[in-house]
């Protein structure tokens, strides 16, 4: 065997003799590079390893171990591993200052696949025999745990051969371990030991050595670098306790004992551990503890001081019952499940008979937790509980008690609902469904609205379970619900009945259509202005059944295509009838009708089958109704009403957004033809009248329909081309700048923005933008006409939005043009408000739903680009002109992502505090709301400004100009209590004292906020408070 190269040899010596740790690097590198083998290293270390000097031996061993750790695993040969293993095992008996290095070396070997079979056993044996683990320092103990863990991971079978010796060795090794980092590893070893070794005679010892940590009481030191949390330890320990059923006889009594303690965390841990162990322990091991467990769990649920403990107790019960249920195949187990449930039922039964008392609900919760565990359990519980509840219902005459009984019953149904979802087994409710439904039907005509409402809730719960309500009951339910919807005077009953019908309509559309829909439509027809003798109609409905109400109900139950196809034509013909006869309140009713159409479309348009149907019926019909009204300006027409037209546009948009490309293209083309060329035939409207909606000189009834154009053109998928885009844009620009009719001008501006946003980048667009900006600047700087300037601002704002959101380079020029207006006395504020338009999501155009061209993170970019200019502008503006800048900043801050805001915040806060001094209530409110949310998100920044902030907030809470300002200021003041104690506590007395004014505010809603805020401040630094 060749000697080491001189260089390496030198380094070896240097390390062993001196304290030069850097020499290690060179030696390790030589081994890593293959320049030197490990055996050569051992050989050259020879005399040092056996030196009589302890320090020399220690240094030599350290060098060997360190090099071993740093050399690549494939460099090690089996032979070397064997030699090293033998060497280290031998050295383990050496001086205590050598031992750590030996363990370090063994740790490296334990991870090496080259270690020959059998060595692991030797290593483990020698460790168990020679090392008194708990006398070592933390790192060395950890090395041992890691060695064991490595072997258990890769050489489990070999270690299993050691049998009980391994178990005993490990028990002795970890007995008394205190370090949380080591415990995490020890727990994972213990889990494997408990599962894979014959712990037999040592079961109790192993349990003792583990369970002494229960319940874990550990708070990591502040700034703990190791990152071990209480939760890690709790879960690690819980896994060991739940590792084997052999622990049951020791563990369950321990859990029972800890459960009886007064410490909430101990209770919680015990209950969670019980839930984790139950299944593993199995029915047999738990048998002798069932009575004790039941009474302990019941006690927690009955007292229920902490919601968490109650929930954990219920989960524990579910786990126990699930365990008992698992072995139902054996008769014996069925017996013990039933036995357990019977004793539970016995304890709960009499409480179920006392709906007026507190323990009714906890008892029901216990039974429901048990029923939740399994189908057999559910069946068994229901078999007893259902007849009892039904009987109690008959016995108790008071509505409030009956109400409680019904709600408890419904909770049982919900439990049953969850039980078989996903399986084919019949639901445990099935045998009782007649009983239940009869019970629910029986209250539907009760004088007490709460009871009727519960009856409906019960039916809804039953209907919610697949295949439980069938046959005649389906018809009966639908019939009842339909009757309640139309005849019950209580709003809650109406609402719940409508919801139940809507759910039913999804599963059983035919039943609902036949039993209910016709009646609803009948009402609409009877109330139809054309129908005579309303009073003679057979159905005399309750007062609440206005057309508006029927429409809302129709919208709610139109969930299934079958039903949609029934309701939509009726709604459209109802609208047509309204237009033709124009009775009193026609506008309102038309709005309600269109709104109903909109709700139906919005809810069901995702269903592809509906889209084409909507184009054919809704889009074409509404478009022709609206446009034929528009061309006929001589007669008054409902659809001349701008607000009605807006809803028509809303409906069209909802359809257009969902259109597939092919359909979208067709409808866009015909719409543009109609609006640009006046070709009404394109939308199947046969009239010879002239239609020039984009011409400023046309009557407003025509020009305002531009919003229908935009509803289609600006809402379809982005890759649907807009024909004649340049001409269209030009006309929209002119119309928006020149129309005196405000809705027209705004609709045209929005339309234009939608078009520009989708316009492909190119020379055409560039030219248009250049000319447009010149034109707008011309109007803004030269015109005296205030209205014209305002219109120009609106156009500028909408165009800026269109460009900014798509990240178009011209966006920043447009923004500059806009900001240049901020100091203008007449329109400065309007221009600043434009920032709101630019950043907020508009529902009609330029939204994601409308397939607008939106670049990711445009808000963030816009913020970064413009904030400095705004802050400069604010600082330089005269006092009277600062408001516009503040307003724009405030809008910016409202819309940008929190992360960005927090980054830019510190220099802004003083400016924001100043904005509170202003006289603009809406600005004050938005700034105050921002402060409230920043308290959570940027506590440091708010803390820094607390001196300026608190006096200002207190002033506004007392003397804010409007209720909203005072309320927002009080919310803000209240939120401050979550800041670090040292920051806010000095203000406690002052705030409490000054809020005494606000609790006497003349407005009740302000007082309510003041009471809440003052309450928080009173609790600050007070025992039982914060």
């Amino acid at each position: 065997m060749a000697a080491l190269s001189g260089n390496v040899q030198e380094n070896v010596l240097e390390f062993v003799q001196g304290q030069q740790d850097s020499a290690l690097q060179s030696v390790a590198k030589a081994v890593f590079d293959g320049e030197t083998s490990l055996l050569q290293l051992v050989e050259s270390l020879g005399s040092s390893l056996t030196s009589t000097e302890v320090t020399t031996r220690a240094r030599a061993t350290q060098l060997l171990a360190e090099v071993l750790h740093r050399s690549p695993s494939n460099r090690l040969t089996e032979k070397e591993a064997e030699v090293l293993s033998a060497f280290f095992c031998d050295r383990l008996l050496d001086h205590h200052s050598v031992q750590p290095h030996v363990l370090h070396g063994l740790l490296a070997l334990s991870a090496a696949p080259q270690l020959p079979q059998g060595e692991e056993v030797k290593i483990v044996q020698v460790i168990f025999k020679e090392v008194y683990v708990q006398s070592l320092v933390q790192t060395d103990r950890r090395a041992i745990y890691n060695i064991l863990a490595n072997f258990l991971d890769t050489r489990l079978e070999a270690l299993q051969a050691l049998g009980a010796d391994f178990v005993w060795g490990f028990i002795q090794a970890m007995d008394g371990e205190k370090d949380p980092r080591n415990l995490i590893i020890a727990f994972s070893i213990a889990r494997i030991v408990a599962q894979a070794f014959p712990i037999g005679t040592f079961t109790e010892e192993l349990f003792e050595v583990i369970s002494c940590y229960f319940p874990i009481d550990f708070t990591p030191p502040a700034d703990d670098p190791h990152g071990v949390t209480r939760e890690d330890l709790v879960l690690g320990l819980r896994q060991v306790l739940a590792a084997t059923s052999k622990f049951a006889q020791f563990c369950v009594p321990m859990l029972l004992e800890k459960l009886s303690s007064d410490v909430t965390s101990a209770k919680l841990d015990s209950l969670h551990t019980l839930a984790a162990c139950a299944e593993v322990y199995g029915a047999d091991s738990m048998k002798s503890f069932l009575d004790l467990l039941l009474s302990a769990i019941s006690k927690e649920v009955y007292s229920s001081i902490h919601q968490d403990v109650e929930n954990a107790a219920l989960a524990g019960l579910t786990a126990v019952v699930a365990t008992l249920s698992h072995a139902v195949t054996e008769t014996r187990s069925v017996f013990s499940l039933h036995h357990f449930l019977d004793s539970l039922l016995k304890g709960c039964k009499h409480h179920l008979c006392e709906p007026e008392l507190k323990l009714m609900w906890p008892s029901a919760k216990l039974l429901q937790a048990a029923a939740r565990a399994s189908d057999p359990a559910c069946v068994h519980v229901l078999d007893t509980a259902v007849p009892l509840l039904v009987e109690q219902f008959q016995v108790h005459p008071y509505p409030q008690h009956r109400h409680t009984i019904l709600e408890v019953t419904i909770a049982f149904i919900h439990v049953a609902h969850a039980s078989t979802s996903g399986t084919d087994a019949p639901n445990p409710v099935v045998p009782h469904s007649d009983n239940f439904l009869t019970l629910f039907y029986s209250v539907l005509e009760d004088a007490d609205a709460g009871l009727r409402s519960s009856g409906v809730g019960g039916m809804a719960a039953m209907i919610g379970i697949t295949d439980v309500v069938k046959g005649k009951h389906l018809d009966l339910c639908a019939n009842h619900l339909g009757r309640l919807v139309l005849h019950d005077a209580d709003p809650t009953v109406q609402r719940r009945s409508t919801e139940a019908l809507a759910a039913m309509a999804t599963a059983h559309p035919d039943v609902v259509r036949e039993e209910v829909l016709s009646k609803l439509l009948q009402v609409l027809e009877n109330n139809n202005p054309n129908a005579m003798d309303t009073n003679q109609s057979e159905q005399v409905c309750a007062k609440h059944v206005t057309n508006q109400y029927v429409l809302n109900t129709l919208a709610a139950v139109s969930t299934h295509p079958t039903i949609v196809r029934c309701t939509i034509p009726k709604l459209l013909s109802h609208l047509q009838a309204l237009i033709e006869s124009c009775p009193d309140q026609a506008t309102q009713e038309a709005i309600a009708t269109l709104d109903c159409v909109y709700k139906v479309v919005e809810k069901t348009v995702i269903n592809d089958a509906n889209v084409e149907y909507f184009v054919d019926t809704i889009v074409l019909n509404l478009m022709s109704m609206a446009l034929s009204a528009a061309v006929n300006t001589s007669d008054e027409n409902l659809l001349h009403d701008t607000s009605l037209l807006e809803i028509v546009a809303k409906v069209l948009r909802a359809v257009a957004r969902s259109l597939p490309n092919s359909t979208g293209k067709g409808i866009v083309n015909s719409t543009v033809q109609a609006f640009l060329q006046g070709n009404l035939a394109a939308i199947s409207l046969n009239t010879s009248a002239s239609f020039e909606p984009l011409d400023v000189s046309s009557p407003w009834q025509q020009t305002q329909t531009v919003q229908l154009l935009s509803a289609i053109v600006c809402s379809v998928a982005r890759n649907v081309d807009i024909p004649s885009i340049s001409e269209l844009a030009q006309k929209l620009l002119t119309l928006s700048c020149a129309s005196d009719h405000e809705p027209t001008s705004l609709a045209a501006a929005k339309s234009l923005s939608g078009v520009v946003n989708k316009w492909d980048q190119g020379e055409q667009l560039q030219t248009f933008l250049q000319e447009t900006r010149d034109c707008l600047e011309q109007i803004l700087s030269k015109t005296e006409d205030e209205k014209a300037r305002c219109r120009a601002v609106a156009v500028l704002v909408w165009l800026t939005k269109a460009l900014v959101i798509r990240g178009h380079p011209s966006g920043s020029q447009f923004t500059k043009t806009l900001m240049a207006l901020f100091e203008d006395e007449a329109i400065g504020r309007r221009a600043a408000e434009g920032f709101y338009v630019i950043l907020s999501d508009s529902p009609d155009v330029l939204s994601k739903e409308s397939h607008a061209n939106i670049r990711l993170m445009y808000k963030q970019r816009f913020f970064m680009e413009n904030l400095p200019a705004l802050v400069d502008g604010f600082n330089q503006a005269d006092d009277g002109r600062k408001q516009s800048f503040l307003c724009a900043v405030s809008h910016l801050l409202t819309f940008i992502p929190r992360q960005v805001l927090l980054g830019a915040l510190p220099p802004l806060v003083p400016l924001l505090v100043q904005s509170l001094l202003g006289e603009d209530p809406s600005l004050q409110v938005s700034t105050l709301e921002m402060f409230s949310s920043l308290v959570q998100e940027a506590p440091q920044v708010i803390s820094k400004n607390i001196d300026a902030l608190i006096p200002q907030l207190l002033e506004l809470s007392k003397n804010g100009p409007t209720m909203k300002v005072r309320m927002a200021a009080l919310k803000s003041v209240g939120s401050m209590t979550s800041l670090p104690h040292a920051v806010v506590y000095p203000y406690r007395n002052r705030v409490v004292r000054e809020l005494a004014v606000a609790v006497g505010d003349k407005k009740r809603m302000v007082r309510k906020e003041a009471v809440a805020a003052r309450g928080e401040w009173f609790l600050l630094g007070s025992p039982g408070g914060k």
């Binding site: 007292s303 209720m963 007082r1007 009471v1011 609790l1019 007070s1022």
Partner: protein
């Protein structure tokens, strides 16, 4: 106070909760002055937690709107509360919580009287006298343990 066997009344009768007060158009009108009325006082005290049960005073019927009177003109508020059982040892604590809540939530111009509903507690007179003694109330609130219990009764439970 945590286990049912130590509760004086482990299974008390329960009552429903009143729904939230509807906001009226007058309340939204800046210029109208909203008088403090019995309902407003009721809303202040009904959500106080019972010291023993995870229930509110309203759910235990300890507080009822009909037992609250407000005289805005003379700045006087009177609240009667009804202990769940005549020998309830928590009566003073409950009364103290009500008093403290109103102390914190009402403008200082109001004189507040908190009494036990006549005939519903065996130590009615003694409890009433204690609750009326502002010096004792002030001293009680400087007692950290008592203050903690009162604060817990006044904290909103989640």
């Amino acid at each position: 106070m945590s286990s049912p066997d130590r509760l004086q009344n482990a299974n008390p009768q329960l009552y429903g909760r009143t729904s939230e007060r509807e906001v009226t158009p007058e309340e939204l009108n800046e210029d109208v002055e909203d008088a403090i009325d019995a309902r407003e006082i009721f809303d202040l005290v009904r959500s106080i937690n019972d010291p023993e049960h995870p229930l509110t005073l309203e759910e235990l019927n300890v507080i009822e709107q009909s037992r609250i009177t407000v005289d805005e003109d003379n700045n006087h508020v009177s609240v009667e509360f009804t202990p769940t059982i005549p020998h309830c040892s928590m009566a003073t604590l409950i009364g103290l919580s009500i008093r403290v809540k109103l102390l914190r939530a009402l403008p200082t111009r109001f004189k507040v009287d908190v009494h036990i509903t006549p005939g519903t507690h065996q130590s009615e007179h003694a409890v009433n006298k204690q609750l009326a003694d502002k010096e004792r109330v002030a001293a009680a609130l400087e007692n950290q343990h008592l203050l903690e219990v009162v604060n817990q009764c006044l904290s909103t439970r989640n």
